[in-house]
Amino acid sequence: MTARSAMLAAAVEQGDIGNIGLAASGILVAVAVAVSMWRRLGLERDLLWAAVRALVQLLIVGWALQLVVDPDDPLIFAVLWIVVMVSFASWTTQRRASEVPKVLPLSLLSFSASAVVVLGVLFGFGIYELEGRTLVPLAGMVVGNSLSATVLVSRQLITASSEQRGVIEGRLALGLTSTAAFRPHLREALRTALVPQIESTKAVGIVALPGAMVGLILAGVDPADAVKVQVSVMYLVLGSVATTTAVMSLGISRELFTPAQQLKRRPGPPPD
């Protein structure tokens, strides 16, 4: 047994809380339920449902992950997993921002582009070994962390195209191209999506310990090693949010205008 696999085995042993440990952690759900009953919040059923649902979902994911993380499994299973994740994220974006034109193909393009760029860097530079065990969780981080920002930027662009119509047409009427006329609104939407990520990146370690690092430390990994992984994950999140929102917003901008540099009219009263 190599030193690395011995360390991993020890980590796994330390990190395995067992079924009894898992059941005991459920006491904390009972505490939350008790608080809800005590203050008559009426959230008992929601709390129990959320706790059970999270357990079942993660058990299923854990079981499914076993199919792709074994070094002997073909990498194609991991790739298929990513395709499913990207598709589900795109479908979710479509559901949450249904007013966006061509939202499904644009989301598919954005999440895929982000996955290619971010995973390309992480594996292309040999930061992580290319195997199912690394590919699936990292792709999950790319898609999961970009989802909210993508919905946010999409909705903000649509709102701007409607509420700021007068200003946008004011710029078009001065002979600006649609790209130039919409640029300030695009910039604002991208800033809105990226600033929270930048702020949480700045606050990491001071306000809260990030999840990946906590998980690794609990699993027995040396904190210094856990920090390195965490930092790479934070950079991954920044890169993926920036890439996904940039591709999405550029795609939406193109959909908002005609080739004749006209702002398309959305349902509503026409001019006099």
């Binding site: 047409e169 009427a173 001065l174 002979g175 600006l176 026409p270």
Partner: protein
Amino acid sequence: MSSRDVFELVGVSAGPSAAPILRDLDLDIPANGVTVLAGPSGSGKSTLLRLLNRLDDPVSGEVRWRGRPLTEWDPTELRRCVAMVFQRAPLFPGTVLENLRVALPEVDRERAVHVLEHVGLSGELLGHDADTLSGGEAQRMCVARALLTEPAVLLADEPTAALDRSSRETVEDLGRQLADSGVAVVWVSHDTDQLRRLADHVIVLTDGSVRAVGHLDDLDASDDPVVRRSVGSPS
């Protein structure tokens, strides 16, 4: 200005394709002096104006300017030749100078002061935040901004509707002054007093169709009471 500067509309329908506001319009709009588009609300005045610089396209038919279909013009080039001011002056973030630079990025302070003074504003306003301008000042600043593109035509979509009386008169004077200096003005107005002060030519629209076209004197002599009412003819 040649007769080819005229806007020609041939079989134009425009507005939502399911229920066009303008229907099968054949019309020549003179591109000299001040042409006022008049008519009741919903008659299609603004819809028509927006076709002339391609902020919108007709659902059928063709619009031509200087003998060329508008679809053959580069839209950005067309809009710099056929400028537009709106009922609600769209102010961009930043100072008055920054607003002017949206139209002409290379404009220097000297030219910016000159164009402001041309529309009756003080050059001292250059450094002011555009948001702090009064309604009348904002509208005149928008005209100044549009003039920086050196347009041949200025489209004005009820530019005084949101202004008080004194600002309204100043903007009207500016419209007249521009027309006298060779910039053709096409002006949408609900206000018959304003129409009578400004118009060299009048086009009356009702229900998306042309009701009458002509000089004010001709329309005052019309037998059609709708036309006479639309141009505020003395009873």
